[in-house]
Amino acid sequence: MHKKMAFSFPDEVLEHVFSFIQSDKDRNSVSLVCKSWYEIERWCRRKVFVGNCYAVSPRMVIKRFPEFRSIELKGKPHFADFNLVPDGWGGYVFPWIVEMAGAVPWLEEIKLKRMVVTDESLELIAKSFKNFKVLILSSCEGFSTDGLAAIAASCKNLKELDLRDCEVDDLSGHWLSHFPDTYTSLVALNISCLGSDEVSLSALERLVGRCTSLKTLRLNRAVPLDKVANILRRAPQLVEFGTGTYAAELRPDVYSDFAGAFSSCKELKSLSGFWDVVPDYLPAIYPVCSKLTSLNLSYATIQSPELIKLVSHCPNLQRLLVLDYIEDSGLEALASSCKDLQELRVFPSDPFGVEPNVSLTEQGLVAVSSGCPKLQSVLYFCRRMSNEALVTVAKNCPNFTRFRLCIIEPRTADYLTLEPLDVGFGAIVQYCKDLQRLSLSGLLTDRVFEYIGTYAKKLEMLSVAFAGDSDLGLHHVLSGCESLRKLEIRDCPFGDKALLANAAKLETMRSLWMSSCAVSFGACKLLAQKMPRLNVEVIDERGPPDSRPESCSVDKLYIYRTVAGSRFDMPPFVWTMEDDPSLQLS
């Protein structure tokens, strides 16, 4: 019957059409059209994205998409990056690997973010998936070089091994030697997070030498600069390279060896690393600068003059990560040299100092916003800001998709007028109509949330800290931001009223994090009762929340929608709001 309604297109034709649809959102839409499209789509979805590993169970995913080849999973809430989520909270990948090992033997790609990955998981991956190609672990922890050795030894078709920002127990530098001599398919290797323990350089050199398709290589700090030349000479085809430590004795022979090897890499587009930079070695990279589109100097403790020289050699730069040593003067130079700049991240060199150690202010941001018309994504740490500057930036850059401003001292007012920064951020959301991600800081009242609720219609992720006056602030956001998926709040006077009034909204979002706010335990229980498809988790290391009065605020609260019910792997300091205690044991 439904075949007639679909004008008798055979399934294979539809499947072929669907194969051009890659985005998850579009595929989800396709699957809603009718039952037969749902069926066809689910059999041909090859990439599955699970934004919250607890929103669905591995079995459910496998049941719906039996033929997927690539899976991306995210675990802990974003604020785990800043140590707000206690260890042991969860995000274990092992149960997923177990289910997939049995049911998805042709799995090729696993991408994980903020998950706990054990050596056991890595060993199971190595054993179970014969055609395994890509392992990307982003901000993960729980494994050691033993697990990596298992991957190296068994995954004959491995193309990518990327351990960005992971915490790895370095047990031995020799895991690299576990790649067999016959193994040549490596395309991308990122080990920049590995500690200062030695990596077996000879194994690395041999590996690089025989993997002629290697395009991305990001070394860790332990690789000395004078050894890098040997590696680079074996891989002149590299497109992305991360140095190890960028310090070496100032000897002409070492320098020329290094510079020579560098200049033989004609395809380089992206550079990173640069730990412990010795400025005299910087000119070695000038020959490749004109082609660079991405430069990560965020660990390079070099001062503004050197930075200015460097960026002025990079007219094609699209992405720059740098420390605030660049100062306003450096950012002005950047604005005049790098007209293609799309993304800028400025990190603080001395985040805990009271007095500013560098001359980096709102002026630098204004300069870049004015000089770089393609600027879309900003992460900026600074110590002072004004509404005037923010309004200027907003008008200069209506194309912002991501704007994250961190004024280091909480609740800092506009330094010119001493007023809150409501108007400034209001301008950002008003002018930047495509804004997807926003992080607030400085002195902010409920008014800024009114602006956000009114204008930020495309906003998907909002981070708030030390802001607002009352529940009204939270209410503005929850009731106004139509596209909101992730909301994370810390140290704001938001309580029960806004949360309960907007309970239904929470089911349209991926997750809500609130810590050090004013949400009572009673409200959490009520919310959980009203909304059975939300998991309401209270994280409190002070002991069970019901040992205190119901009106008592909870320490941390993490609410997320789920079709998998309550999770079973909670540590003792995480409580769900189940009325019936026996449910927890099942």
Partner: protein, 305 residues
Amino acid sequence: MSKPVEHDYIGLSEQPLPSMEKRSGDTNAEKSGLRLKDTELRLGLPGSESPEREDRDQNVLSLKSFVSGAKRGFSDALDGGGKWVFAGGSGGGSEGLFSPRRGGNNNEGNDLSGSDSGLKDGVAPKPLVVQEKKSQVAAGNGNTAPASKAQVVGWPPIRSFRKNTMASHPPKNDDNAEAKFGSGCLYVKVSMDGAPYLRKVDLKIYGGYKELSSALEKMFSCFTIGQCGSHGVSSRDGLSESRLKDLLHGSEYVLTYEDKDGDWMLVGDVPWEMFTNCCKRLRIMKSTEAIGLAPRAMEKCKNRT
């Protein structure tokens, strides 16, 4: 060598543990406050005597056989004197899994009636301010760093990798480098034998061994008392048999750390500042495994001085 002294590392009272009186399936009761005053995890370093012990000796159910002589007194090495114990109990406002303290070293009271002021060691409820940072003095450098403001957990929002990277290698061209980058935070992993997962602590937020020990005990007492699953079921239905046996046989723990040279040492040997500078990770290990540590510790100490 002084005569070996028997120490009570796990104080267990004669009264039966409350959980034994309840059904293991009765999670409600468990949640409403398992009275575990009587089960205290104690981690006393050799030579130390917890003040509370005096009045509890007679209540001790069993004493762990104590490895005599191999451990040395360390109280002299402690910052600011005082005893360092990894004793049971915790600040006011904590209950259930954490046993309340009876008098003793820490200054919080036994108020368990759920006030918001459950956080200790100078921590205010909102925002979570950790403590006044001490001014860091560069070694051998006459300058003192400017007194810094109180640090807030997780603020500014910078990832640990970046913080640790910048902290351990200050810029060379900065005289005050030591002072500046000595500040910040220093996360080290803490593992406990038998616990299903590691914890991380920021050594910079503690003023000394005492605070560190209280914080650790708070974090880890749930492992000896409750049950935590890592991959599987987390059951908070009271003590399991094996855990209980551990306690009853009085397994004792000592706190050790791995220093920059990769050696495992007993915590408490060196002045606190030196310790935070050279400690790479912590491990709460069964004291039976810690026997070999002491002689090395003594040698190292001698080599340093």
